[in-house]
């Protein structure tokens, strides 16, 4: 598996797309820092980018890579290699290279700006960690979709739909249910609904770390109490990890049974 991971990883690192992706983040970081000159403001803008763009790119890139490397996969399948290692190796290769582009691309300008001497270092590392998590989650989901759909167009369609659901539609349903059930106590419900969507979970985690938590009023206090404790932090990290592990398990299972 490691060999395939290494191969996929090097293949991607050499590819044009990773560079474009890397340069995009590098440029974004530089522009944000030097146009804004305010570190915590830059972190907020980055949050918006990370919770929307990172899942989108993870999904599309994952699907694209799978369909593109299909011939090579078929070649590999003819060799005495375990099936699960092929697909897991490819998945981790893609996800790692994407996460690396993100972390290095955003990290470099901030390091040069002097993030290590700033109090925003923890917010920033949280930002990068959630960004990396989101990359792994959505690439895994993309692989699951691609593995279960032979048809490229269908695969892309589902992938985009998945992103749309997680980033936009879920919040719409969430909002509707909050409004509909406004007569009931909603703290537990909103906590649970946040935990269930990795995009929302990342957003709330970052928001609470930023100073605007006081803005959230009573609800914010409930959330702060939950996520501020070690238990909450461990639980939300565990939740993000579950979002990586479950799709990975599906990749493994589907890959094992699939006919080519």
């Amino acid at each position: 598996m490691l060999k395939i991971l290494k191969y996929s990883f090097y293949d991607l690192v050499r590819s044009r797309w990773s560079y474009v992706y890397f340069l995009f983040y590098l440029l974004l970081g530089v522009v944000l820092l030097f146009l804004n000159n305010d570190l915590s403001k830059a972190v907020i803008t980055l949050m918006n980018v990370i919770i929307i763009l990172v899942p989108l790119i993870g999904t599309i890139f994952g699907v694209m890579y799978y369909y593109d490397s299909r011939e090579f996969t078929e070649l590999l399948l003819a060799q005495p290699v375990k099936r699960s290692s092929i697909f897991l190796g490819q998945y981790f290769g893609v996800a790692t290279s994407l996460a690396m582009s993100l972390v290095i691309g955003l990290g470099l300008p901030f390091v040069f700006y002097g993030i290590f001497n700033s109090s925003a270092i923890w917010d920033f590392s949280l930002l990068l960690v959630t960004g990396a998590f989101l990359t792994f989650i959505f690439t895994a989901l993309a692989f699951v979709i691609a593995l279960s759909n032979e048809n490229k167009i269908k695969g892309f369609g589902y992938a985009i739909l998945l992103w749309l659901f997680m980033a936009v539609i879920y919040d719409g349903i969430f909002l509707m249910s909050l409004l509909y059930f406004e007569d009931y106590p909603l703290d537990k419900f909103s906590l649970a609904a946040t935990m269930l969507n990795p995009v929302d979970l990342s957003r709330v985690l970052i928001l609470l770390k930023l100073d605007i938590s006081a803005l959230l009023g009573y609800t914010g206090a409930v959330f702060q109490k939950f996520f501020g404790t070690n238990f909450g932090l461990i639980l939300s990290s565990a939740m993000l990890a579950v979002w990586v592990i479950v799709p990975t398990f599906f990749i493994w299972r589907i890959a094992k049974r699939k006919d080519f």
Partner: protein, 405 residues
């Protein structure tokens, strides 16, 4: 002849630890109208010092009066008394009476200045006293709970008092006014107080200017008052789930100009306040710059800067009779084709999301979600829920440079 009269009327009585007169109360007993009681450096353990004639009680090199937590320390019961230059510590705490470091009861023409108050219950307490001054005092409390702490400077049924240049920290309410008219409060610094930096109720025709209110439990509360002038104040870092820069409740006919509101959870919280002019203020990096909670009519918001607030204005009704004009909004995304510095499309400062949050507070958890941005955008394009006449017709393209030197 004149000299004779002068010395005849104003002699100086010295009090010190090694003088014939060793207590301040003893010094006051020796003095007559117009005299000065000069207290030398030292520590005096006295409570209930009653000043019952028009004298000047003057401290040299900040002598300390230690009340040893036994009760009230200086009580002024005569007109035209001056108290100057003391350090007063250990005022007694009581749950039945409001012990103060200095209390003035029903007197005119007092002057209380250059005092340093520490470990206090109430600081300077003016009761039905008029035309006096409270200048350049430093009050530093150690309040922990609201129920057993007092206020720094309290005015109750006072008229024509000037409160200037004081520093009040760590008490319950920094400066508290009730039923007090024609008061001037200026150049004070009120910070880290448990409840309000400045709190006033039923007090009309008062002026507040050049004060700084910083990091108070709930900010500044202004209630049930008319004809208030607030200029050149700075309200900053009042940050917490129930904090605001100013709370205006039932305030009519006021002018709020040239103030700075920075990093407050809510810049101004307005309830039932009418005919107020908000001009030339700066609202920077607040959670909500202005939160309007109903029954606010004929207010004007002109030439203000709204910069980097999470929400500029929130409203909870569809009715609007307030006027927004010529403000700068950092969230404005319009254009200025004729280059006259005024944007060509009106700015709508109220977002749909703030309506939803007002209705169901739990929804705030969706703050900064993409879905919320989308519905905000569609509401901006065609307002359905927000008042469609609530807009700034002449939004500025560049922030106004307010000269506050």
């Amino acid at each position: 002849m004149f000299l004779g009269t002068f010395t005849g009327f104003a002699k100086t009585i010295t009090v010190c630890n090694s003088c014939p007169i060793k207590t301040i109360q003893g010094g006051i007993a020796q003095a007559s109208e117009g005299d000065t009681v000069l207290v030398k450096k030292g520590i005096y353990n006295e409570v209930n010092i009653i000043i019952d004639k028009a004298i000047t009680l003057l401290g040299e090199d900040m002598p300390t009066i230690d009340g040893e937590d036994r009760g009230e320390i200086i009580k002024i019961v005569s007109n035209n008394v001056t108290v100057d230059g003391f350090k007063i510590i250990n005022v007694g705490t009581s749950y039945t009476s409001d012990y103060a470091a200095v209390r003035v009861i029903k007197q005119d023409g007092f002057l209380i200045q250059n005092l340093e108050l520490e470990k206090l219950f109430f600081g300077i307490y003016l009761e039905k006293s008029n035309n006096g001054k409270v200048l350049n005092n430093k009050i530093r409390g150690d309040a922990v709970n609201e129920y057993n702490s007092g206020n720094g400077i309290q005015l109750w049924y006072c008229k024509g008092v000037e409160v200037r240049g004081n520093t009040v920290e760590n008490v319950r309410d920094g400066i508290y006014l009730e039923f007090s008219d024609n008061i001037i409060i200026s150049h004070n610094l009120s910070k880290n107080n448990l409840r309000y930096g400045l709190h006033f109720m039923f007090s009309n025709n008062d002026v507040y200017e050049y004060n700084i209110f910083e990091n108070n439990g709930a900010g500044v509360a202004v209630m049930f008052s008319k004809f208030i002038e607030m200029h050149y104040n700075i309200f900053k870092e009042n940050w917490g789930t129930a904090s605001f820069g100013i709370l205006l409740k039932e305030i009519n006919d006021a002018n709020i100009t040239n103030n700075v509101f920075k990093e407050n959870t809510i810049g101004i919280n307005i309830e039932g306040s009418n005919r107020i002019n908000y001009e030339n203020n700066d609202f920077t990096s607040n959670g909500y710059a202005i939160k309007v909670k109903g029954a606010c009519y004929n207010n004007q918001f002109i030439n203000n800067n709204f910069r980097y607030n999470s929400f500029d204005i929130t409203y909870n009704g569809r009715l609007n009779s307030n006027k927004f004009d010529n403000n700068y909004w950092s969230n404005y995304t319009g254009y200025d084709l004729d280059k006259n510095g005024i944007g060509d499309v009106p700015y709508r400062p109220v977002k749909l999301f703030t309506y939803i949050v007002n209705r169901t507070p739990e929804t705030i958890i969706l703050l900064r979600s993409l879905f919320i941005d989308i519905i905000d955008f569609s509401e901006k394009v065609s307002p359905v829920f927000t008042p469609d006449d609530l807009m700034d017709i002449n939004p500025r393209m560049k922030p106004i440079n307010h000269d506050r030197s």
